[in-house]
């Protein structure tokens, strides 16, 4: 497998590659996303399946699950978030170092799902910026893998995470 630094990178004869520093950095980021799992409900079970041997998210360079937000750059919100839980989630998001990406997994995290009740946040994107949404109740592990790949594509394309855009807007 050759090194793929994306468009604009050229391999000349032999062992010299010309590219830009951003592309190299992004290439590194994309292939070593460290997810912070925020599993609060049934969707988390599918997330665990995705991480375990059968679906094996590490094939895509994201096997280093960190339970400390300070060591991770991809927040996976999988499950229902109640109004009592939201400040905790917000704090965890704030603790993650930049650049950071957020996946909102499942109907509940994205829009409240079937729980249109007094206690449930109707979409975490009201409070934290979300980069990729996954529909489904629960989404299949393949959907989560697809979302991670979408994040990787965003990184390769050089696009800023939603959180950074929100800061500069």
């Amino acid at each position: 497998m050759g090194l793929d630094f994306g468009q604009g990178a050229e391999q000349t004869d032999g062992n010299i590659i010309t590219t830009t520093i951003d592309k190299v950095v992004n290439w590194g980021r994309k292939n070593s996303l460290w997810p912070m799992p925020f599993g609060t409900a049934c969707c988390a079970i599918e997330m665990m399946a995705t991480l375990a041997s059968k679906f094996d998210l590490s094939r895509f360079g994201s096997e280093a699950i960190r339970f400390s937000p300070r060591q991770s750059d991809l927040l996976i919100v999988s499950g229902r978030i109640s109004i009592k839980m939201m400040p905790v989630l917000k704090r965890i998001y704030d603790q993650m170092p930049d650049p950071k990406w957020v996946i909102s997994m499942g109907a509940c995290a994205s829009c409240g799902g079937v729980f249109d009740t007094y206690t449930l946040i109707q979409g975490v994107d009201q409070f934290i910026p979300v980069d990729v949404y996954i529909p489904g109740c629960p989404p299949r592990p393949e959907d989560l893998i697809d979302a991670v790949i979408q994040v990787q594509q965003k990184i390769t394309s050089g696009a800023s995470p939603k959180g950074v855009e929100a800061v500069y807007e």
Partner: protein
């Protein structure tokens, strides 16, 4: 079960015999639901009866399974039967001495939501009573730490009451990050 009952006259359960002799005036109603004896007790004597149920050596309902409540405000039949008491506090008990399960219900009026706490009898009642307080607004007198347990501390209202709207009264949109202890 009910068919069996009709075929052969079963003796009255020991618990009912005992309550009828000792606390006849406290016993508002009795019933059987799927093999569980259900008794409705007057609030004034609720603590005394529960203490008796736990400490009597023959009954020995030493295990408090659950404490919860029911809002009967839309159950006309229940309301009429128990003097228009809006709430029914429900204790589920279990006896390892062979008496099995027992459900004790205590009617509570809306204008007097106080009821004695049973944390002195069963330590496990602590969180169960806090949940009942959180969801229904029943005040358990003598509870060591009667705070909300599920909803945020600054939440207003009691969500399991029947007049509480399903989507809330705007808490979802207006809740305050700063006010909550994270």
């Amino acid at each position: 079960m009910s068919e069996e009952n009709q075929v052969e006259e079963q003796p009255k359960p020991l618990i009912l015999q005992k309550l009828e002799t000792n606390y006849a005036d406290a016993l508002l109603a009795q019933d059987a639901a799927r093999g569980t004896v259900v008794v409705v007790i007057h609030k004034e004597q609720a603590y005394a009866v529960l203490e008796y149920l736990k400490t009597d050596p023959e009954l020995a309902y030493t295990f408090l399974v659950d404490v919860t409540a029911v809002d009967n405000s839309q159950m006309e039949s229940e309301l009429m039967q128990f003097d228009y008491a809006r709430f029914m506090v429900v204790y589920q008990l279990y006896s390892y001495q062979g008496q099995g399960r027992l459900r004790v219900k205590v009617p509570v009026h809306e204008n007097d939501l106080n009821i004695p706490s049973v944390t002195g009898l069963w330590k496990g009642a602590n969180w169960l009573e806090r949940e009942t307080y959180d969801m229904f607004g029943i005040h358990f007198d003598g509870h060591p730490d009667l705070r909300r347990i599920l909803m945020p501390d600054d939440f207003e209202g009691y969500p399991l009451r029947k007049d509480y709207p399903l989507r809330g009264r705007g808490e979802r949109e207006s809740f305050n990050f700063e006010k909550q202890n994270v």
